[in-house]
């Protein structure tokens, strides 16, 4: 069984400061891990993915995440927040590829102030 824990329900940052959204996972198999973003009243967009290649993964809009097996973590970071980054972020785990289900974390709302 797989599960994901997003450690913060809300994170508030100022524009131009670093962003850190924390995620810990549990998986019986080698996991695939993803971060998705959902802007208000919008669908889900893939930010980045880890699928057993490089442990440091770069995504869109300057986001990146590092897979740390020893810590079972996949934290999302960005060096400098932009107002347009304000959204809900979901960490997602899957036990493999193909038709395996994706299990979502409870989400972290990122608030960016001017």
């Amino acid at each position: 069984a797989q599960s994901v824990t997003q450690l913060d329900s809300h994170v508030s940052v100022s524009e131009g400061t670093p962003v850190l959204l924390r995620c810990n996972y549990s998986s019986s198999y080698s996991p695939s891990l993803f971060w998705y973003v959902q802007h208000p009243n919008k669908g889900l967009q893939l930010l980045l993915k880890y699928t057993s290649a490089a442990t440091l993964v770069k995504g869109i809009n300057g986001f990146e995440a590092e897979f740390k097996k020893s810590e079972t973590s996949f934290h999302l970071t960005k060096p400098s927040a932009h107002m347009s980054d304000a959204a809900e972020y979901f960490c997602v785990v899957s036990s493999g590829t193909g038709f395996q289900k994706l299990v979502f974390g409870t989400g972290t709302r990122l608030l960016v102030s001017p």
Partner: protein, 110 residues
Amino acid sequence: DTAVSQTPKYLVTQMGNDKSIKCEQNLGHDTMYWYKQDSKKFLKIMFSYNNKELIINETVPNRFSPKSPDKAHLNLHINSLELGDSAVYFCASRQNTEAFFGQGTRLTVV
């Protein structure tokens, strides 16, 4: 071209009615899903189909019946709608790694 498209985008209906949500993907993927997002934004899988075959049914009430007429379509029919069915429903498709999601259908039962 939208990769995964759902219709309708909004659906307001009365308790007890029967309604359907349609989903189509043009990515050629084998696997399609339905997810439900509740008022707290939590996303939970409902169903998964692979090549028109039901793979996952996550203890969803049998008032919910998915139908996959072909690999590119996975529709969701809901009978006897209840207030608690109000949510945003997302369709998704997947081939290997990441899933691609539709824009969601906001269902409001009054």
